[in-house]
């Protein structure tokens, strides 16, 4: 059952198309690895799918909600962008509690989930102000905030960036658990081994268009590469991009 569906989704900034005619289908309870070189339109796509940015054309639904209905959409999704969306002068515990309250999370569940997730990520400084955190600590807080309310779909933009190996492993375990619980994870990252290891499906975006979409193994075989990295490099070089566009 598809939980994310887009049809001709387009975002233009003047003459420039950041995302052009994107057709995407993501199944419920899967991890979708969203790849692409810098400037390919990954962040714009995530903003479109989370309702932060209004599409210029096309349609998209996430968990059955039109992305233009931001309020309803917000109840079903979690989003951890590349820049952690945190109030610098709050502590992590205060931040999480405040957003949980704003979301209307049950107080008992909030009291249970916040310490559990903080403990799991080893956020010992949860009572210090966020402005004193390292990038990795902010990233952990941001991800905890995105999953706290058990959303149907979680959008994670570079969630392992700045994390130490232990935290990165915890993050991967969390993603697998979320999938097992029926949550869909839409994961954008440049760390290809993470996608290779976890993703059920990989989508490769280039110049605002979806160049390829398959499971990681099939993508490698299709492009006769040894790894997802080979496939990525082959597809995103300009000549390969044109070939791939022709093949599709």
């Amino acid at each position: 059952m598809a939980v994310i569906e887009t049809s001709g989704l387009t975002k233009r900034y003047g003459e420039t198309a950041a995302v052009e005619g994107l057709d995407l289908t993501v199944e419920r309870g899967t991890i979708y690895g969203f790849l692409g070189p810098n400037g390919a339109g990954k962040t714009t796509t995530m903003r479109l799918l989370t309702g932060l940015t209004r599409p210029s054309g096309g349609a998209a639904t996430v968990a059955g909600v039109d992305v233009r209905e931001r309020d309803r959409l917000g109840e079903r999704i979690g989003y951890a962008p590349d820049e952690p969306p945190l109030y610098e002068t709050l502590t992590a515990r205060e931040q999480l509690a405040a957003i949980a309250d704003v979301r209307g999370l049950d107080p008992d569940e909030k009291r249970e989930r916040i310490p559990e997730l903080l403990d799991r990520f080893g956020l010992d400084a949860a009572d210090d102000r966020i402005e004193s955190y390292s990038k990795g600590m902010k990233q952990k807080t941001s991800v905890v905030q995105a999953v706290l309310h058990r959303p149907a779909v979680v959008f994670l933009d570079e969630p392992t960036g700045g994390l130490d190996p232990n935290a990165a492993r915890t993050m991967k375990e969390l993603l697998v658990e979320l999938r097992a619980g029926g949550t869909t994870v839409f994961l954008s990252t440049h760390v290809l081994p993470v996608v290779e290891e976890l993703a059920d499906t990989v989508g490769l975006l280039y110049d605002g268009q979806l160049l390829a979409e398959d499971d990681p193994g099939a993508l490698q075989r299709r492009l006769a590469g040894d790894s997802l990295e080979d496939a990525f490099v082959e597809l995103t070089t300009e000549g390969a991009a044109a070939d791939a566009a022709g093949r599709r």
């Binding site: 900034y13 903003r47 989370t50 309702g51 932060l52 940015t53 209004r54 931001r70 309020d71 309803r72 959409l73 917000g74 109840e75 999704i77 979690g78 989003y79 962008p81 820049e83 952690p84 969306p85 945190l86 109030y87 610098e88 002068t89 709050l90 502590t91 515990r93 205060e94 931040q95 509690a97 405040a98 957003i99 309250d101 704003v102 979301r103 209307g104 107080p107 909030k110 009291r111 400084a125 009572d127 210090d128 102000r129 402005e131 004193s132 955190y133 390292s134 990038k135 990795g136 600590m137 902010k138 905030q145 700045g162």
Partner: protein, 564 residues
């Protein structure tokens, strides 16, 4: 590399002289300042509008001014000279106090301009900062002062008069800009060196504002006190080429020499203080974030909140913080209100634009009652207007920008535009409303002679304006800052200057009929029910309608907001 002679480090360049470095850094700094002003039509409009307003007042288009003084010069040159001397003294003091506020902001660690310091000396950066301050002062006040000098010369029929008046006034601006920077550095050294929170920074600002207000109200006293000091020689400098005013050339020359010396000393002091303030251990205080290469040094300490990064936080549990609000609104709205209050307490910078309203109130009280024709019965109306305007001058003037980096979290939380607008309005009105009402009632009771009808009308007037303020400011604020990706990456923004200006103008327009109705009683000592209730009624009705429209507009804009 291969061209480097043996024994010489390849790539070594000769360090340029201080003068060369200072010129380069100054040029870049000033060009940045001017480009910033030019790139914003609104900012250009504000600067031009401000200059036009000040010029109109100084020249004499709105009353007696420089032109009229020039005309009077032929008959009473000594009296005119005396008037110019006293005005100059008061002006110098007021501009200097105002400049100290800007200096405290300019001297923050982030103005070290690290990019320059990796290539040149601190002295060059300090020199550039001083020139930048002088240029900013000249851009803001210079044209108006030159216009006033010219008007005086035209009125007097003496073109030479414009020379000393114009050049002298511009020099005084430069001196005050330079002299105040050491104060700004000391203020920042105290805040950073003693690990004080941003509340302390705001506290210092409030003290300086207090001095400004005291100077404003006691200007005659200040002028008298300074008349016997060398500061009074400013008059001799300004009047040097104005005939018949008895200006002393030795005094003028002494003032120029003395001010040049003081400017030099201030520059040296700035250099020492900059080393102390910009490079002290607390500024580079080690935190985990530094170790991980996360935020820049300036961002951690001198950035958004300016608080010590490792401040222990002692606050009541979040779940109880907003609980008391739940009789007023839904739990989710209450959570947003509580969140806004907590953040405001820790980042009082968002209250910055409350001070112009306080200033307006004080100036109104001074001009209308203390030195004006109205009785003290006007005070409650002044408190109602200025207090209400202050209520809407903080975070409601920038409901998007004050969320800072957390904006995506709020927008994707499902809270919705209507809940956000209501929460911001309540966060402003719940503490602000009782304060304004208390002020109106308290002063009304203290005066003791206000008829109940007048007091009730004032109360209705104040309440209507408070309601309007909390919503009208958001209707304007949602347009600032404009949609821009930078919004997501930036820190918490204070309300936009243009939004603040438009908001103040709008509030004044709505408040005017009611103010006139209440003013009629304060002027005549007896009230005409038609004028009183008619005026207040118009304000209450317009405020109510505009508040409703503002609410709808703000909600619509927030719901339709797109991160571009």
């Amino acid at each position: 590399m291969s061209d480097a002679p043996d024994g010489e480090v390849a790539g070594t360049v000769q360090r340029p002289s201080f003068l060369r470095s200072a010129l380069v850094v100054t040029r870049v700094t000033v060009v940045q300042l001017l480009r910033k002003q030019r790139s914003s039509p609104l900012l250009v409009g504000v600067v031009v509008g401000f200059n036009c307003f000040v010029a109109a007042v100084l020249v004499g288009l709105t009353g007696e001014g420089a032109y009229h003084l020039g005309v009077a010069l032929a008959e009473t040159p000594e009296a005119v000279g005396e008037r110019v001397r006293r005005t100059a003294l008061v002006g110098v003091v007021l501009v200097t106090v105002m400049q100290t506020l800007g200096a405290a902001s300019d001297a923050r660690a982030r103005h070290r301009r690290l990019a320059f310091l990796t290539a040149t000396s601190t002295a060059a950066v300090v020199a550039a900062l001083l020139v930048r301050r002088a240029v900013a002062a000249l851009v803001l006040f210079g044209p108006a002062l030159v216009a006033a000098a010219t008007a005086f010369a035209v009125g007097a029929g003496s073109p030479a008069s414009a020379v000393s008046l114009g050049v002298g006034a511009l020099w005084l601006l430069v001196v005050s800009a330079v002299l105040t920077l050491p104060f700004g550095l000391v203020a920042n050294w105290v805040v950073v060196g003693y690990d004080l929170s941003s509340n302390a920074r705001v506290g210092l600002g409030v003290v300086v504002l207090g001095v400004f207000y005291l100077t404003l109200f006691g200007r005659e006293l200040v002028a008298s006190a300074l008349a016997a000091t060398p500061v009074a020689w400013t008059g001799d400098l300004l009047l040097l080429t104005v005939p018949g005013t008895g200006a002393s050339l030795p005094h003028a020359a002494a003032f120029v020499v003395g001010s040049v010396a003081v400017v030099g000393l201030a520059g040296l002091a700035c250099l020492g203080l900059a080393e102390l303030t910009w490079y002290s251990d607390p500024v580079f205080g080690g935190t985990d974030s530094d170790a991980d290469g996360d935020t820049g040094v300036g961002e951690t300490v001198g950035g958004e909140a300016g608080t010590a990064a490792s401040d222990p936080v002692e606050t009541p549990p979040v779940e109880t913080f907003g609980a008391s609000l739940r009789w007023v609104c839904s739990p989710r709205t209450a959570a947003l209100v509580a969140l806004t209050w907590r953040r405001t307490r820790r980042t009082p910078k968002v209250l910055f634009y409350v001070y112009p309203s306080a200033l307006v109130g004080l100036v109104m009280a001074e001009q209308l009652v203390l030195h004006g024709p109205f009785s003290m019965a006007m005070y409650p109306a002044v408190v109602g207007f200025a207090g209400a305007t202050a209520v809407g001058s903080a975070f409601t003037l920038n409901p998007l920008g004050t969320e800072g980096n957390a904006l995506p979290a709020v927008l994707t939380s499902g809270a919705g535009g209507a809940r956000l607008v209501r929460a911001k309005a309540l966060a402003a009105a719940l503490p602000g409303g009782p304060l304004v009402v208390g002020g109106v009632l308290g002063i009304g009771a203290a005066l003791g002679v206000l008829p109940a009808a007048v007091l009730l009308a004032t109360l209705a007037y104040a309440l209507a304006l408070v309601t309007l303020a909390a919503l009208f400011s958001q209707a304007l604020g949602v347009h600032y800052p404009p949609d821009h990706e930078e919004l997501l990456g930036g820190s918490v923004k204070v309300p936009n200057k243009s939004a603040s200006l438009l908001y103040t103008v709008g509030m004044t327009a709505v408040a005017l009929p009611g103010f006139a109705g209440l003013g009629q009683y304060a002027l005549a000592g007896a009230f005409d029910p038609l004028v009183l209730f008619g005026g207040v009624g118009i304000t209450v009705a317009v405020a109510g309608a505009l508040a409703l429209l503002s609410y709808r507009h703000a909600v619509g804009k927030l719901d339709g907001y797109s991160v571009e």
